[in-house]
Every structure is written in C-alpha cells, then in structure tokens.
C-alpha cells in the first residue's frame, strides 16, 4: 500500500490501489497482479472500449500484470506528447498503439526502445509488413491490429458490386464518390499506382508520383465529397446520397449487418491495408512487462479474438489462426493487399501534401 501511495500521483490511482488492496487481503493472487502493471495507449473511443472489455481483463488474468489503458488521440498529437515526455524522462504510456507514419517519425529521434524478438514466441508467424524496423535492423514495433479500406457501394444504387478500383475513374460515376480528403489517409496514390501503373513501386521516383497525380486528377469530376469526418460519408453512403467511395471494411460490415443497404468489396487489385504497431517508449522502465504484453497480443488465439470481437484483420499468417473462412472473409481477404508507401509520407510529406491540396482544391 505504501508503495502505491508513494509512486502514484493521481487520486484515482490511489483509490484504485485501495480497492485492489482490500481485494488482495482476501485473494493473495491479485496482490501479485498489482505489483506488476503496465500503461497501454490505445486509440480512444471504439478501440479502447473494445480492448477494455474483450482483451485487457484476460491479459491480467493470464499474466498477473495489471493494465491501465490510456486513451490516445488519433493523428500525430500523441506522438508529440510521447516525444516531449520522453525528453523529460517520463512515459505517459509504456506501450502505445501507433500508426505507421508515426512509427517512422518516432524512429528519427530514437523514441522507440528496441524490442527483443526472442521474447515474442510467435515472431516468425507475423506477416512481414507487421514488423517495424529501424534502418539498422533493430525492431521498433510489432503489429497490433490491421484494418482495410475498401471499395464500398450502396446496394440499392449498385445491384452489381464493382470488382476493381478502376470504377472510381468510370465516367458513369460522375459526382457519385466519397473519398478521404488527405493524401496521407486516403492512400489513393498507391491505389492509382497499383491499378494503372503496375504496383506501388511506380512511386519510387518523382516522375512516377507526378504521373500518378495526373491519373488521379481524372477522378476529380466523379467526387462529390472529400471527407475528413467518417460519420459524414457513412451517413451519405447508407442513404444512397453518395453511393460509392472508399471506406473502412470493418465499419461497413457492421452497417450491413444492421440492415443498411451497403457493401464492402475487396477489388481485384486488393484492399488498402493500414495498421497500428505496439511500440515501447524509451522512457519506460516496464521493458519486461511490455514484452510480456506484446507476446500475449501476438498469439493466434488473441488475434482471432480481436478479429471476432473488434473486427480487425489478424497480423499473423492465416494458417496459424482458427478463424473459419466466413470469419476471415468478414475482416480480411486472400487478395494481396495494397500496402501504403509510408516511407513517402515521411521523406516527401510536405511536397506530397502541397501537390495533393493543389490537386483537389485547385
């Protein structure tokens, strides 16, 4: 008890500690759980609620490590906070779920403590895009969850599902599309490159990127809404006001299950696969616990639970999982995904952003 009082700052933690101690008097096994704890940052809202409900209690029961979940904002605000806190030697969260671009930005200041892969039992079972490495080969982060952005349509307006991203360019779809408004979250350059230029490697050179921008400019007359706010497009898609566009596969599936006339299609070029990594702040002193946590999260059973309960795509190879074909199809696809060129959003971010804004605003 004294240890808890000394180490914690917030009243809530002290109260929590008091409750835990009372519990510990009757159940000695929980006392051990309180000795070891870890702060985990997850995106606030839907993700955090699902994790708090479906994942963290089981982890504490299995490992004896208590989890304090921290709601982190999306975007890069959390990265800035972690970075500034690390300079002062504190970690607002030990392990955080970070976007790929944020991972790369954090690498530039050595923010992420290297992960000892020998302590992750299923390390070899991870799909290669879910291991985030420093240029020198140290592992900065391990895939946490993955999700897809796919081609979505209103089933009333489109009785037949489109089978290719090329539908976005079809003149018949004039003024009917809803697309994400930013270069770094729509990943439409990658879609253009994969659909018309043979793959995302076409974006290696500036000429290639310029070509993709030219091709992408042809989509503009078809776009009714460039959205930042997801709810805005989801509403319009359900009502048929904007009957086609790009959207999140998991949420579209939930809407369809609720009876709305919407569907999500994996185009033959593949859905866009985006993901979050678990990363450990260099200021954290919970290195041991963090490894236990990441190891636990990378187990096939847990990844399957995430797919079933949270709707995310697994980070492990499919043959390791016990998901039924239907369950797998509801969160993922065997079609090779389009993986965003995260490196570009780090090395060329300002140039890309400027070109993109001029393309859609101009």
């Amino acid at each position: 008890m004294r240890k808890i009082l000394n180490s914690s700052i917030s009243r809530r933690a002290v109260l929590g500690g008091a409750v835990a101690t009372i519990g510990a008097l009757s159940m000695p096994s929980i006392l051990r759980a309180q000795d070891r704890s870890i702060k985990v940052g997850v995106y606030g809202g839907y993700f955090k609620d699902s994790f708090d409900k479906n994942i963290f209690p089981d982890f504490t029961a299995a490992s004896g490590i208590a989890v304090e979940s921290v709601a982190e904002p999306t975007g890069e605000a959390w990265l800035v906070q972690l970075e500034q806190a690390a300079k002062a030697g504190v970690a607002p969260a030990d392990v955080s779920m970070m976007s790929q671009v944020a991972m790369l930005k954090g690498q530039s200041t050595d923010l992420w403590a290297p992960i000892d892969t020998s302590k992750i039992k299923n390390y070899d079972g991870l799909l290669e895009q879910f291991v985030n490495e420093y240029p020198d080969g140290r592992v900065a982060g391990i895939g946490a969850v993955a999700w897809y952005i796919t081609l979505v349509t209103n089933t009333d307006s489109y009785p037949e599902a489109p089978d290719s991203w090329a539908a976005l360019w079809d003149p018949a779809n004039a003024d009917k599309l809803g697309l994400l408004a930013l270069v770094s979250n729509s990943f439409l350059l990658e879609v253009t490159a994969k659909t018309f230029m043979g793959g995302t490697n076409a974006l290696d050179t500036e000429e290639g990127i310029n070509k993709a921008f030219e091709k992408l400019a042809e989509v503009k007359p078809n776009v009714r809404l460039w959205y930042r706010d997801e709810a805005q497009f989801e509403q319009a898609l359900k009502s048929g006001e904007i009957p086609m566009g790009q959207y999140y596969h998991d949420v579209t599936g939930l809407a369809a299950a609720d009876g709305h006339p919407v569907r999500s299609t994996f185009p033959k070029e593949g859905g866009i696969q985006d993901s979050g990594c678990w990363a450990l702040s260099r200021a954290s002193d919970k290195v041991e616990e963090a490894h236990v946590f990441i190891d636990y999260m990378s187990q096939p059973e847990i990844q399957a639970t995430l797919s079933r309960k949270v709707g995310t795509a697994p980070t492990l190879k499919r043959d390791l999982l016990d998901l039924t074909p239907e369950e797998f199809a509801s969160v993922s696809s065997d079609i090779e995904p389009i993986i965003p060129r995260y490196d570009l959003y780090q090395t060329k971010s300002d140039w890309l952003n400027q070109k993109w804004t001029e393309l859609i605003v101009g």
Binding site: T109, L182, L225, Q232, S239, E241, K348, Q354, T357, V361
Partner: protein, 285 residues
Amino acid sequence: MRREAPQRLSDYGPLAFPAIMLTVFFVIPFGTMIAVSFFQRQQGGFYTPAFVFSNYERFLSLFFAHVLGFSLMLAVLVAVCCVAIGVPFTYLMTKMSRRAQIVWMVALLSVLSLSEVIIGFAWSTLLSRTAGITNLMVTLGLMDTAVALSPGFPAVLTAMVYQALPYTILVLYPALVRLDPTLTEAARTLGASPLKAFFTVVVPALRTTILATLIMVFIFALGSYLLPQILGRPQHWTLSVLITDQAIYQSNMPFAAAMAVFLVLVTLGMVALTLFAGRKREETT
C-alpha cells in the same frame, strides 16, 4: 453622476483581472504562435527553434492567395447578408409587443446553443437529394425530380449566415430598441413612406452600429472551418481548413502558425481600413 479619470494606481485595480486574463489567454498564446511561425520544420519529424522565413515563403504563392481571397470574400459576403437580413428584421422586432419580442429572442438564443457540427449536418440533410427540401417541392408539384443542393457555394453561404444571424441580431437589438421613435414619426409627418423613412432615417442613424456589426460578423465568419468542409467542395475550403490540416494532420506547426499569423494580420488590416473609411465618411457628412 460624473465620471472621474483614474487618479492613483489603485484606481486601476478593477482592470487587473481582465488584464491578466487577456495576457494569459490571448497575448501569451499569440506570442507563442508568432514565435513558432519562425521555427524550422523538420520533415518527417517535429520542429526545432530557429529564426527562418521559409514558412512565410511557402505561403506566398498564387495558390494560397486564391484560398485567402476566397476566405475573405466568403466572410464579407456572410457579413453583408447577415446585416441585410438582420437590420430590417431587428427593426420590425422592436416594433412588436414585449411578449412577442421575448419569444423571438428565446428562439434566436436557442440557435446559439447548437454546435457548428449539428448545424452543418442538419443543413447537409436539408439540402440532400434523398431527404432534403427538394422532395417537398416535388410533392407540391413545383419540381420534377429531387436534386442535391449540397455540396456547393450556396449551401456554405446559407449555413454560415444561419449560424451568424443570431449574433448579428443580438448586437443590433440594443441600438435599435434605443432608437428615438420620434425620428421616424417626424419623417412620416413630412410625407415619407415607411420604407423611405427606414432607409433615409433609421439606417443612417445606425451607421456606426451597422459598421461594428459588419466587422464582428466578418471576423466570426473568417474563423469558420467546419461548415465549408461539410457543405462545400474543396474549392470552397477556407484558409482555416488548410490551417487545421497542417496543424493536426501534417504536424507542421510552424507552417500552420505562419498561415494563422498572416490571417490575423490581414483581418486586422481590413478592420482598420473599414474603421478608417467609416470615420472619413462621418467627417465629410
């Protein structure tokens, strides 16, 4: 009661609280923003303290000039529309019974309780093809098929005027209530029609109030960034939308700060110009 100018330091005491508030919540943040606007952006990282002009250089382009021009034009248009609707409306309102005035005021104040998000989504539904007002027109036989009225410039303008109108009326109301009714009565006695009396007597008598209202609505409208996003196409995005993009999504604080500083300077310049022009005219008349 005669008001005396403050004599001693302690007479300024009551000013201390607002002065501290102004310093803490306006001067210091604004100073920080100016400082950050000169910092060096680290692409793919954060920013480092420095004194460079590159953020301002990037802003000085034809593209951003267009966006800035559009933002100013939109704000001016919103201000003009609000005053054009607000002055006659408030004038007629002051002629009503006290009871009716209270009902109108409560209705207007309740609009203020709506957030920008709710206003934006409500208008986008009202102006949509599937659930909007054009369906009503079709039912009434005024139109053949329902059409989408959003996104577009009229949609942005309508929603922004809707949002700013209650403020306009609240600012105009006190001046109009205090307006001496004998002025219009005199004009009527001399043979002016009610309309003529309104334009030749009421409007000139309220010139300063109208000018102040125009400026207030202009500044209010210039900061709007949600409605242009929800109801407009990309060419209707204001500079505030692009500032948000840079600050939140690109984590390019120095550039966002530079744009914001520029916007504030242009705004202050325009307000000064308007005040100057207003004073000039007052001197000549």
